[in-house]
Amino acid sequence: MSAAAEVVGTGTRRRDDALAWLRRNAWTIGLVGFLFVLFAFTRVIQPRYNAAGVQGLAISVLPLALAAVAQAVVIISGGIDLSIGSMMALTSVVSATLMDGRSDEFAIAVVFGVLVLGLALGAVNGALVVLTRVPDIVVTLAMLFVWAGAALLVRSSPGGSAAQWMRDLVLGSLLVDVIPKATVVLLLVVAVVWIPFGRSRLGLSLYAVGSNQLAAFRSGVSVGWTKVMGYALAGLFAALGGIALTASTGIGTPVPGPYTLLSVAAVVLGGVSLAGGRGGVFGPIIGVFVLQLIRTDMTFLRINTNLAVVTQGVILIAVVMVGSLIEIRRARR
C-alpha cells in the first residue's frame, strides 16, 4: 500500500520535473519549433535548398553563434560586453598570423595559446569592471577601442592563414549530409565548456549574481570574483569565435565585424533576460540560426537586402516586445 503510494509519488514527481523542465525551457523549445517552420518555409520557396545550403548556413553562423554564447554568459551574470567583436578580431588575427606557414602541430599549440589569450582579455575586462566600479557598458565600450587597436597593431590588413585541419574541421558534413560538421563542432565545444561550468558552484554563483547581486553577496557569493570569471569565460568564447572566423575564412581580419551588436540581438532572441540571471547559452545559438535563416529567405524571395536589415530590426524589437508583455502580465497576476 505504502509502496504503491511511493511509486505513484515518484511517478508524479517525475512528471512534475518534466513539466518544470518544459516550462523552464519553453522559450527555447518554441524557438526550435520556429526554426523548423522556417526551414520548411525555405524548402517551399526554394525547392533547391538542400544539404549544401544547410552546410553553408552552419559555417556562416559559426562565429556569430560563439559571439552570442560569449554575450549570453556575461548578460546572465548581469553585465554586458560590447568588446566581444574586437576581442574576436584580435584573436582571429593573432591565430592567423601565428599559423601562417607553420606546421599542423604548431597550429594546435597556437589554438590553445589563443584560447588562453581570450581568457586573459576577458579577465581584464571583468577586473576593470569590478575594480573601477564603472558601469559594464562604459568599460567594455572603452575596451572595444583598446582591443580593436591591438588587433590593428598585430596586422594592419587582412592576411595570414589557417591550418588545413582547422578548415577541414568546419567544412563539409558528418555521417549524413544534412548534419553539417560546423554545427556539430559548435555544439560540442559549447557543451564541453558550458555544461560543466554551468553545473559547478561558479555557474550557480553566476546566475545568483545576475539575478540579485545583494542577495548573492549576503548568501556568501564572492560577487567580484564571479563577475571576473564570467567575463573571462566570455573572453574564451570570443577567442573561439575568432578562431572560427579564421577557420571559416582562411585569413585573419583586423577590423571587427558586426558581431557585438548582433550577438546582443541573438541573446535576447534566445530568451536571455537583459536584466540578468535568467536564460541559457543554447537559446542564443538557435537565435543566431533564426536570424541568419531569415536573411537567407529574404534573398530567396528576392527582397531588397536592405529591407532584410529592416526586417531583422523589426523582428528583434517585436520579439523583445512580446517577451516584455509576457513579463508584465506575469507580474500583474
Binding site: V134, L144, G313
Partner: protein
C-alpha cells in the same frame, strides 16, 4: 556651534575631494586645460585662436549627439540609434537638393522622418517596456535599412551637400568663430536651462532616479519617454545635418562613428548610465575633452592602432577616476 560653522568644518575636512564632489565640473575643466597645455608643449605654437575654432567646430556635432545620450541616460536609457538617424538626415537632405522644395524641403522631410523614428522608439521603450538598448539598436537597423532603400530608389540627380549646409557646418567668421556655434549655443542653452528650470527636465531626473516613486507621484512615464526619444531623434538629425556640412559628404553611414564617442562624452561628463544623475554641462566638457584628446593623439604622430588603444584606456581611466572622486562617502 552654528550650523554654518559646522558645515564649513565639514567642508574643510573634505578638502579638495569634497570640493570636487560638490563641483564635479572643476576636475573636468582642469583635465581639459591640462590636455591643451600638453598639446602646446608637444607642438609649441599650435594653440592659436584659429586652432581653438577648429576644435570647437569639430566638437559641435559630437556635443549635440552626446546631448541625446545625456538626456536618455538621465532616464536610465541609452540611444544607439543616433548614428543611423543622424546619417539618414544628412543623406536625405543631400538627395533633395535639386527637388522643387530645395534644401528646406529636404531638411523638413529628414526632421519629420527622425521624429517618426523617435515616436516609434519612445512607444517601444515607454509603453512596451522594451529595453532601450535593444529598442534603439533595432531602430538603428530599421533606419539604416530604409535609408539604403531610399538610396537605391531615389533618382541620382546630382546629390551633394547643399552649399548652405556646408557654410553652416564648416564655415567660420574671420577664420576663427565657427558658424555652427550659432546653431549650437541656443541649443545648449535650451538643454541646460530646460533640464534645470522646466518641469519636463525635472521629470527626466525623476523617472531615471526612481521610476516607482515617479509613478506613485503621478508621473506618466510613458509620455515622458515618448517625448524624450522624439527630442533625441530630432537633435540627432540636426547633428547629422551639421556633420554632412562639416565633412562635405553625405552617406548612409556618415555619423556612425559618433555613437560610441557620444556615450563616452556623456559618461566622462559625469552622467550616470544608471539614470537620475548628471547634467549637460559636464557633457559639453566631455565632448571637448574627447576632441582635444583626438587632436593630441594625432599631433603625437601616433598611428591609428596605438591611438585607439590610448583613447580607450583614457576613457576607462577618466571614468574610473571620476567615479572614485565623486563617490558618496
Amino acid at each position: 556651534m552654528s550650523v554654518e560653522a559646522r558645515m564649513s568644518r565639514l567642508r574643510e575636512r573634505g578638502g579638495i575631494r569634497g570640493l570636487f564632489r560638490d563641483q564635479p565640473l572643476i576636475p573636468l575643466i582642469l583635465l581639459l586645460l591640462v590636455l591643451v597645455v600638453v598639446i602646446q608643449v608637444v607642438r609649441p605654437g599650435i594653440v592659436t585662436p584659429s586652432w581653438l575654432g577648429v576644435i570647437l567646430r569639430a566638437s559641435v556635432p559630437l556635443a549635440i549627439i552626446a546631448g541625446c545620450q545625456t538626456l536618455t541616460m538621465l532616464t536610465g536609457g541609452i540611444d544607439l540609434s543616433v548614428g543611423a538617424v543622424a546619417s539618414m538626415a544628412g543623406f536625405v537632405t543631400a538627395t533633395m537638393v535639386n527637388s522643387p522644395g530645395g534644401v528646406a524641403q529636404g531638411i523638413a522631410i529628414s526632421l519629420v522622418a527622425a521624429a517618426l523614428a523617435g515616436v516609434v522608439t519612445g512607444i517601444g521603450v515607454g509603453v512596451f517596456r522594451v529595453h532601450p538598448l535593444i529598442m534603439t539598436l533595432g531602430m538603428s537597423f530599421v533606419v539604416l535599412g530604409l535609408a539604403n532603400v531610399w538610396q537605391l530608389t531615389t533618382v541620382q540627380t546630382g546629390s551633394g551637400v547643399p552649399a548652405s549646409l556646408r557654410s553652416v557646418g564648416s564655415g567660420t567668421i574671420g577664420g576663427i568663430v565657427p558658424m555652427s556655434l550659432f546653431v549650437y549655443v541656443p541649443f545648449a542653452l535650451l538643454i541646460l536651462v530646460g533640464l534645470r528650470r522646466t518641469g519636463y527636465g525635472r521629470l527626466l531626473y525623476a523617472v531615471g532616479d526612481n521610476p516607482v516613486a515617479a509613478r506613485l507621484s503621478g508621473v506618466r512615464s510613458w509620455q515622458v519617454l515618448v517625448v524624450l526619444y522624439v527630442i533625441s531623434a530630432v537633435f540627432a538629425a540636426i547633428a547629422g545635418l551639421l556633420v554632412s556640412g562639416l565633412t562635405n559628404t553625405a552617406s548612409v553611414s556618415l555619423a556612425d562613428s559618433y555613437v560610441l564617442p557620444s556615450v563616452a562624452a556623456a559618461v566622462i561628463g559625469g552622467t550616470s548610465i544608471l539614470g537620475g544623475r548628471g547634467g549637460y554641462g559636464g557633457t559639453i566638457i566631455g565632448a571637448l575633452i574627447l576632441t582635444v584628446l583626438t587632436a593630441l593623439l594625432t599631433v603625437l604622430g601616433l598611428h591609428e592602432p596605438p591611438r585607439q588603444i590610448l583613447f580607450g584606456a583614457i576613457i576607462v581611466g577618466v571614468a574610473a577616476a571620476y567615479t572614485r572622486v565623486t563617490a558618496e562617502s
